[in-house]
C-alpha cells in the first residue's frame, strides 16, 4: 500500500466517519436491548438484533481500521481458513448440544 500524504489525510477523515458510525451503533445496541423484540417469552429476537449490530460493527473495524478492504490475497486466504475453522468449532458445539447422553438427563 503506497500512500501519498493527501491519500492518508483523506483516509483519516474517513476513519473519523467510521468512528462516528461505531459510536451510533453502540448507542443503538444498548437502547434496543431494553425493548422486547420478537416472539413473547423469548429473547431470540433481541439476541438476533444484538448480534447483527455487533457483526456490522466488527465488519466496520475489520474492513477499515484493519485495512481488510483492499488487502493482499494471501491475507484473505489465511482468513478464509480461519472462518471455516471457526464455523466448524461453533458447529461442533451445536452438534454436541443436540447429542444428549440419555443416562445423564
Amino acid at each position: 500500500m503506497a500512500h501519498s500524504p493527501e491519500e492518508i489525510r483523506k483516509h483519516v477523515r474517513f476513519y473519523i466517519g467510521v468512528f462516528g458510525a461505531l459510536l451510533v451503533l453502540s448507542a443503538i445496541t444498548v437502547g434496543v436491548s431494553y425493548i422486547h423484540i420478537g416472539p413473547p417469552e423469548s429473547n431470540t429476537g433481541n439476541i438476533a438484533v444484538g448480534l447483527l449490530i455487533a457483526t456490522v460493527k466488527a465488519g466496520l473495524v475489520a474492513a477499515f481500521f484493519m485495512h481488510l478492504a483492499g488487502e493482499k490475497p494471501l491475507i484473505y486466504r489465511v482468513l478464509l481458513f480461519t472462518v471455516i475453522f471457526v464455523i466448524g468449532l461453533f458447529g461442533l458445539c451445536i452438534f454436541a448440544f443436540h447429542d444428549d447422553i440419555p443416562a445423564l438427563f
Binding site: 500512500h3 500524504p5 492518508i8 489525510r9 483516509h11 483519516v12 476513519y15 473519523i16 467510521v18 468512528f19 461505531l22 459510536l23 453502540s26 448507542a27 445496541t29 444498548v30 436491548s33 429473547n43 433481541n46 439476541i47 444484538g50 448480534l51 449490530i53 455487533a54 460493527k57 466488527a58 473495524v61 475489520a62 481500521f65 484493519m66 493482499k72 490475497p73 494471501l74 491475507i75 489465511v78 482468513l79 481458513f81 480461519t82 475453522f85 471457526v86 468449532l89 461453533f90 461442533l92 458445539c93 451445536i94 454436541a96 448440544f97
Partner: protein, 289 residues
C-alpha cells in the same frame, strides 16, 4: 542479523513479513476466543434447557460497560491516527495519538477493575429453603452469617431452587427480580433469618445451603463472564505494553528507519483493533442480551 522484508514487500507474497505474521497470529487468536465463545453458547443453550431457568440479563453495570465500549473504540481510532501521523512524518502527532491510546487503555482497565471489585464484594446467600439473599458486608461466624441486604425488589430475597442451576441463580437476574417483585417477602421472616438492630440480617448457618460473592463460582454466567473478560483484559494489558514500547522507545527506530516504525505501529494497531473487535461481541453478549 538483518531481518528481511521489514519495510519492502516480498515478491511472492506481496507483503512485508510482519503483516503476514500478525495475521497468522490473529487467526490463532480468533480460534482461542472462538473456543471460549462456543463455550458461552454451549452453557447458555444448556441453561435454557433447564425448566424455569432464566439466564441473567442486565446484571452487569451497563453504563460502565457502555463507557468502556466507547473508550475501546476511541482507542482504536487514536491508534490508527498515530499510525497515519507516522506515515505523514508528524512525530509530535504520533506521540499525541499514541499517548492518548495508552491513556484510554488504562481507563478501560481502571473501569473494568471497579466493575470486578463491585462483583467481588457483592454476596449471595443460598438458603436450604431455596430463597436467595443478596447483599454486602458479609461476615461469617461459627454458626451464623451477617449480611447487609440489598434494597429493592424482594428486599434482596428471591424465590428459587438451589444448586448450580435452577431459578436461584437467576435471583441476580433482571427477569427473576421483576417476576418476584409481586410476592416479595421480607427476608427477616424467613426461617433462620432475623433482623439485627443495625438493619443487617443474621442468618443461621444451619439454614444456609451455600454462600459466595459474585465471583466466577457464583453461577455459570459469572464463570463465563470472568473467563471471557479476564482473558480480554489480559489482551488489553499485552497490547498496551507493546504500544507503550512504541510510545517510549519508538524514537530510536524512528531516527534510523521511520517506515519500519510505521509498519510496527500498524502491526501493533492490528492487534489492538482485534482486542476492540472481541469487546464489540463481548459487550452485547454479557451486558445486554
Amino acid at each position: 542479523m538483518e531481518i528481511p522484508y521489514t519495510v519492502s514487500a516480498r515478491q511472492d507474497t506481496g507483503l512485508w513479513n510482519a503483516k503476514i505474521g500478525i495475521w497468522l497470529f490473529l487467526a490463532s487468536e480468533v480460534m482461542l476466543f472462538g473456543g471460549l465463545f462456543s463455550a458461552y453458547i454451549f452453557l447458555r443453550l444448556g441453561a435454557g434447557s433447564v425448566p424455569g431457568y432464566v439466564w441473567p440479563m442486565h446484571v452487569l453495570n451497563v453504563p460502565l460497560g457502555f463507557v468502556n465500549t466507547l473508550v475501546l473504540i476511541g482507542s482504536s481510532v487514536t491508534v490508527i491516527l498515530s499510525w497515519a501521523a507516522l506515515k505523514l512524518g508528524e512525530w509530535k502527532n504520533f506521540k499525541l495519538w499514541m499517548g492518548l491510546t495508552l491513556a484510554l487503555s488504562l481507563t478501560f482497565l481502571v473501569i473494568k477493575s471497579f466493575e470486578y471489585k463491585a462483583k467481588f464484594t457483592h454476596y449471595g446467600v443460598f438458603l436450604k429453603s431455596g430463597e436467595v439473599i443478596t447483599g454486602h458486608h458479609l461476615h461469617a461466624a461459627d454458626d451464623h452469617l451477617t449480611i447487609v441486604p440489598d434494597e429493592g425488589h424482594g428486599h434482596g430475597a428471591a424465590k428459587g431452587g438451589h444448586g448450580e442451576t435452577g431459578k436461584a441463580d437467576a435471583a441476580a437476574g433482571h427477569g427473576a427480580e421483576k417476576a418476584d417483585a409481586g410476592h416479595a417477602t421480607d427476608p427477616a421472616t424467613l426461617k433462620g433469618v432475623s433482623r439485627q438492630a443495625d438493619g443487617s440480617l443474621r442468618i443461621e448457618k444451619s439454614e444456609v445451603f451455600r454462600y459466595a460473592n459474585h465471583g466466577p463460582k457464583y453461577n455459570t454466567f459469572y464463570a463465563i463472564y470472568f473467563t471471557l473478560t479476564g482473558l480480554h483484559a489480559l489482551h488489553v494489558i499485552g497490547g498496551a505494553l507493546v504500544l507503550g514500547y512504541f510510545f517510549f522507545r519508538g524514537h530510536v527506530l524512528y531516527q534510523k528507519a521511520p517506515e519500519h516504525l510505521a509498519n510496527r505501529v500498524e502491526v501493533g494497531g492490528l492487534f489492538w483493533h482485534f482486542v476492540d473487535l472481541v469487546w464489540i461481541f463481548l459487550f452485547p453478549l454479557l451486558y445486554l442480551l
